[in-house]
Symmetry: C2
Subunit: 199 residues, 2 copies
């Protein structure tokens, strides 16, 4: 298994983290996004969309961090990570969309603005980040894990990175005690891996 990767990308990190949690190894191939390696012909021949993370596993080629989590969970993980009970699975998919949408346009965008100096609408990213964090806080004040399961699922893995890294985008985690407690729970899972920017 080969993961085209960038250390500081939260979306790449969520794949590395999940591989750690399920005890699967992958060869990491760093892609130098800062110097535009993802737009060079050599990388576009691998992934025409020019994005990381990108997974190669035998004949399988998979882009999109949320999709990669689903793939890895179904193929390699204990079913507790991605139940196929109709209600639980629907809840998980809803949080995967939340990761791709609210988290991406909120905390993740605020972070790339600050950390990589990319031009962003800072006020918009901030207000979206606060809305996303409030929603998370609300859910996690009532449930240990996002999909309301007894153990973590890929929903938690998908949402965790940009929540935990929110401080790098200027979002103070102090008003979100339930989010911080959930981050600690994740940090204590067997096989957990961190990344730069996380305590």
């Amino acid at each position: 298994m080969k993961l085209y990767d960038m250390t500081l990308s939260g979306n790449c990190y969520k794949v590395r983290l999940f591989l750690g949690l399920i005890g699967q190894a992958a060869e990491l191939v760093p892609v130098d996004l800062r110097n535009g390696e993802q737009r060079q012909p050599a990388f576009l021949a691998i992934n025409p969309r020019g994005q990381v993370p990108f997974l190669e596993d035998g004949e399988v080629r998979m882009a999109d961090s949320q999709a990669i989590l689903v793939y890895l969970a179904r193929r390699y993980a204990d079913s507790s990570w991605y139940s196929d009970d109709a209600v639980t699975e629907a809840r998980i998919v809803s949080w995967l969309s939340f990761a791709a949408n609210e988290m991406q346009h909120g905390p993740a965008t605020a972070r790339v603005g600050r950390l990589f100096g990319r031009p962003i609408d800072e006020a918009l990213a901030n207000s979206r980040a606060l809305a996303a964090m409030s929603l998370l806080e609300q859910q996690l004040a009532e449930h240990d894990w996002l999909a309301q399961t007894p153990t973590p699922t890929i929903a938690d893995v998908a949402v965790y990175p940009y929540a935990a890294l929110a401080g790098e985008g200027g979002i103070d985690l102090a008003p979100y005690p339930a989010v911080r407690a959930w981050c600690s729970r994740i940090g204590q899972l067997p096989g957990y891996l961190g990344m730069p920017g996380l305590e």
Copy 2:
């Protein structure tokens, strides 16, 4: 089964459409979004997030149109609508995120701006709509169905409404022949239901 619904909402329509395609009946309960019924205590007691579509099925309560599709597919539909093959399922989830993200911030936002006069950043919604439509066109030029399956899946159902309704947001479908052909294929499926604004 009870669906809290609004006729002109593309997200409600995708649930009604899927119910039609799988031959399931639900009682439709109209919620008057234009007059703010979704923010009234009576509806907030049903769905605290104040959104439609919202599904009640026995003990199950489910918000989020994509999540509802997953739930209905797993519980009531032929598995071809939502395969649990790892690769196919990952592809489907990726398109569900695309529906929740790119389609929502693109064509759907352009449409609510025009149709309901909501204040939106029109230039941004338009550029996102065009990017989303191009990506769809690219995929559908090569595959009959979004998840590259021999028959349609909930990915198609999730993305279809705001693609087919793009004209209402001022997005011309002429440059997207593969998208138009796919819309026709969907329109010919047994059990298909239309909505106002679709030909």
